[in-house]
């Protein structure tokens, strides 16, 4: 790197941290508007039923109730990725989340009481809760708006993806070892500490609707709300309050959001809906549960030959962004390690279960679990080390994969080598275990997009800069902060490039009326796209400043340096605010502003899903050591060694936080977390029954960043947010196999499951 950096790559405290640590940050739950009403939603009692009648008369008569709505009161469009989801259900209910009526009242107690007064008569039907049952010829059509029969030759298929490359038959014939396994992955909850919330305020004066909404994709959300309510998008203003955790859960607009808007439109007053924890479990998105049938091969030299995969996803009753997770999964099957041939089929199948959504990793934790487990099973048959087979087949710099992903930089092998070395993998893997506690070590790697993902028409981000005549910089960015630290990165970049101290930098990023367009915070893209966008705007504002400085100091315009609020050229220097004053107030009067729209150098993939979909790619490996209590089946994670190709470390403190948070989320996925459904009803909708890890469960986490300086990223960086949880569960399952010799093909590895496996020596 040519230029010496003074702020980038140095640990920097969270730019917006003081508000959060003092209770000053305003989350959606904290908003109170004058005359605000409280909204609540009546959901179905049964996951599958016809609605015979709905009687809201008693609720409407209750004092303090301002409004009760059902589907009959709402002139709205269907929502969801496939537009197959009515906001309020009138004739049938299809899953336990289904919204039947909503009330707005002066207090929460009155709203709750009003819900209890609404009488709904149901004709209860037998639901279908297993996607394989739903695929059967004689199954009823679950979602009546579904177009599965026309599009995919089965009435209950909501969405379907097919991808292939290479010569499958040739590669199969070349294979010395072929392993086929079925993997079953559980449904897990985002468990954001702040529950879902929205506050809506409709003005009859100008027909404008303001929503304080915890969305991750404000501009797509604005469009979705407009479609739902048949409004003009620009009449809708989205303000994002501080968001109490997201992890992908706030990608889809859910029915409660247009419902809240409708309540405000009907009453002319602000209305707020806050989920309680039980409602959060029942009625917010989840990770996809799926069955992955994977067959993989390797030749006599242990080189991978092919992957053939069939994925059956439980779509639930309606279709969300979650149905598009195969888009990410196919990258892992086609391009994680060198894969000469790949055939991929994924079907999202309607059932009477709740629908999943997007969740950190977007299908990749599931895909990687199956791929990395199969690699261990192949290595065993081939008689090669789990480390050696991975090193032999690792991705490399310059590789263009079968799917046309182009790895201009690639830290796959260095990451593997690092965790193998640091964890003393070879020694620990061969360690003999005796007695009650058995230790084991496992390896897994992952590939994920690192430079956005062009799944929408644009994967871009806009930035506007305003430098005022007191030397303060305001960054208007399209990107969104959800706690991950993107504001901090932007402030660091601005401080680095313009020499303006943090206390003179403001980041404005929460209002669609003000901020420029951005596709949203997802796909580990925010620091990458918003960082590049900001650098583009800084270049433009510097050109203006440089021109002014050369005029003021009578020097030739050149590459001036910016430090401590000064612009310096040779032995001359001038205060940056003075330059701005001269621009504003001297002739020809000019504002010191700039704007830039950054679009990543990536491709929209063709109909065969081929193309370089991201600006760059992140690679990571984890080696995890566990201890299994053979008396209780309890698995304890002892040490996690993480190495990740981050391109370049921008903020070591923030990066480490992403790694640790991701790894611990991955351990929960591996060991404790599962939403348990019985006939479409969630039986553990609370933190009593849904087990998140706590501080006493935390292993030692050792992190080794790999810097590959990718030219596409700001300062050479890549996206980091999702990667840390992706290889964790397979590394743990591989470690448990190493410890007790049982090969697990499903998650989570609960004590009951492990104990049963030890006793019966069976594979679960």
């Amino acid at each position: 790197m040519a230029k010496e950096l003074s702020i980038i790559s140095k640990s920097t405290q969270k730019f917006d941290g003081k508000e959060r640590v003092t209770g000053k940050a305003i989350y959606g739950h904290d908003i109170e508007l004058p005359n605000m009403l409280h909204g609540m939603i009546l959901r179905t009692k049964y996951p599958c039923a016809n609605i015979i009648s709905i009687d809201t008369s008693a609720a409407k008569a209750l004092e303090g109730v301002a409004c009760v709505i059902t589907a009959d009161d709402a002139d709205v469009n269907m929502i969801g990725y496939k537009r197959d989801h009515p906001i309020l259900k009138s004739k049938t209910v299809n899953c336990i989340r289904d919204e039947i009526a909503a009330v707005a009242a002066t207090t929460k107690d009155i709203a709750r009481k009003a819900l209890s007064l609404i009488k709904v008569e149901y004709d209860v039907k037998k639901g279908i809760f297993n996607p394989f049952d739903a695929l059967k010829e004689n199954a009823p059509k679950i979602n009546l708006a579904g177009k599965g029969l026309e599009q995919f030759a089965n009435k209950n298929i909501a969405e379907s993806f097919h991808y292939e490359h290479g010569e499958l038959d040739v590669q199969k014939a070349k294979s010395k070892v072929i392993i086929s396994k079925r993997y079953t992955l559980p449904r897990v909850a985002h468990s954001c500490l702040g529950t879902s919330n929205i506050t809506a305020d409709y003005s009859k004066l100008n027909g404008c609707l303001t929503l304080w909404a915890s969305t991750q994709v404000p501009f797509l959300y604005q469009r979705d709300i407009a479609h739902a309510l048949k409004m003009e998008p620009s009449k809708i203003r989205i303000i994002q309050p501080t968001i109490g955790g997201a992890f992908g859960s706030k990608l889809d607009m859910l029915p409660f959001e247009p419902i809240c808007a409708l309540l405000s439109i009907k009453t002319g007053k602000p209305v707020q809906i806050l989920y309680n924890r039980e409602e959060e479990f029942i009625a917010s998105p989840t990770r996809q549960t799926m069955v992955i049938d994977l067959t993989t091969g390797a030749d006599e030299t242990s080189r991978f030959t092919f992957r053939e995969v069939k994925i059956t996803m439980d779509n639930g009753a309606y279709t969300s962004w979650g149905a598009t997770t195969p888009f990410v999964m196919m990258q892992t099957f086609s391009s994680l390690y060198q894969v000469p041939a790949c055939s991929f089929q994924a079907d999202a199948v309607y059932t009477n279960n709740p629908f999943a959504g997007s969740f950190r990793g977007y299908g990749n934790p599931q895909a990687t679990f199956s791929v990395e487990r199969n690699i261990n099973l192949m290595a065993k048959e081939l008689g090669i080390g789990n480390d050696e087979i991975r090193l032999l087949n690792a991705n490399y710099k310059g590789e263009i994969t079968g799917q046309r992903l182009h790895y201009k930089t690639c830290g796959a092998k260095p990451a593997l080598e690092k965790v193998i070395k640091e964890s003393h993998y070879k020694v620990k893997e061969k360690k003999k275990n005796q007695g009650r506690y058995k230790t084991g070590i496992g390896l897994a790697s992952m590939l994920h997009v690192g430079g956005g993902a062009k799944i929408y028409r644009s994967d871009g981000c806009g930035t506007r800069l305003k430098l005022d005549h007191y030397g303060y910089l305001t960054i208007f960015t399209g990107s969104s902060e959800i706690g991950q630290g993107s504001e901090t990165i932007l402030a660091m970049i601005a401080a680095e490039e313009l020499g303006i101290p943090f206390e003179k930098i403001k980041v404005i990023n929460t209002d669609t009326d003000v901020k420029p367009w951005d596709v949203g915070v997802h796909a580990s893209r925010t620091s990458f796209v918003s960082g590049n966008s900001l650098l583009g705007a800084i270049k433009l504002i510097k050109e203006k400043l440089n021109k002014q400085v050369s005029k003021l100091l009578c020097v030739e315009a050149g590459d001036f340096s910016y430090k401590n609020g000064l612009i310096i050229t040779g032995d001359k220097e001038i205060k940056i605010d003075k330059v701005v004053r001269d621009m504003h107030f001297g002739l020809p009067n000019e504002l010191c502003v700039a704007e830039y729209f950054y679009e990543p150098p990536s491709d929209f993939q063709d109909k065969q899903f081929r193309g370089n979909v991201s600006g760059n790619y992140a690679f990571a490996s984890q080696a995890i050591e566990v201890e299994v209590d053979t008396y209780t089946g309890n698995v304890k994670v002892l040490d996690v060694y993480v190495s990740q190709d981050v391109g370049r470390v921008l903020n070591p403190l923030g990066l480490q936080g992403q790694i640790e948070g991701g790894v611990v989320m991955g351990i929960g996925y591996a060991l404790t977390e599962e939403m348990i459904f019985e006939n479409g009803n969630l039986i553990n909708p609370s933190f009593h029954g849904y087990k998140l890890l706590t501080s006493t469960d935390i292993p030692n986490i050792h992190f080794y960043p790999i810097e590959t300086f990718d030219e596409a990223g700001p300062y050479g960086s890549k996206g980091v947010g999702e990667a840390p949880l992706i290889p964790t569960a397979p590394a743990i399952a591989n470690a448990v196999a190493n410890a007790i010799g049982v090969e697990f093909c499903s998650l989570p590895l609960t004590p009951e499951k492990v104990l049963k496996a030890i006793k019966e020596k069976t594979i679960i």
């Binding site: 003092t22 209770g23 305003i26 954001c192 702040g194 955790g245 992890f247 640790e660 009593h688 935390i698």
Partner: protein, 159 residues
């Protein structure tokens, strides 16, 4: 049981007299009536610790505590930690220094727990072990950080 009961208590150093329903939860007194929104509602079932406040210096879940039981007691919420002269106390400073804050929804409760445990340790003249520190934070759920940095921040407070 709907008659109001008068309670006298101190909150963040200010003495207060209020009439409350016997069923009113402390979290609702704090958030809805006193408008101190820094105390966060995470689960309202005593599992997540986000609504932790101090009652006579001891960290409690305000969602599991009846408001009438603060009679004669002293409450500290997150808003009561800083002063005009020093807006951040040591716990808050260490949380920021160690990168222990991401989305921040769990942060208020954790800061108050650390404060309470730190005061207790100080009174006993002991420095807790890392395992004791972990144990002291067990009542708090955090989905963002993976706890490591929170534990590190807490340890730095006790040193």
């Amino acid at each position: 049981m709907n008659s109001l009961i008068e309670i006298t208590f101190t909150i963040n150093g200010e003495k207060m007299v209020r009439k409350v329903k016997p069923s009113l939860l402390l979290i609702n007194l704090i958030r809805d009536e006193l408008k101190l929104k820094g105390t966060k509602p995470g689960c309202l079932e005593g599992e997540c610790g986000a609504c932790t406040v101090l009652v006579d210096g001891i960290a409690i879940n305000s969602c599991m505590y009846l408001a009438v039981n603060v009679e004669g007691k002293s409450i500290t919420t997150i808003e009561g930690l800083g002063t005009l002269e020093k807006p951040l106390n040591k716990v808050q400073e260490k949380m920021l220094e160690h990168g222990a804050v991401q989305c921040g929804f769990c942060t208020s409760g954790i800061v108050l727990s650390i404060k309470s445990f730190s005061d207790k340790c100080k009174a006993q003249g002991k420095v807790p072990t890392r395992n004791e520190v972990k144990k002291s934070l067990e009542g708090h759920l955090c989905r963002c950080t993976g706890y490591v940095k929170i534990i590190n921040a807490a340890e730095a407070v006790y040193k």
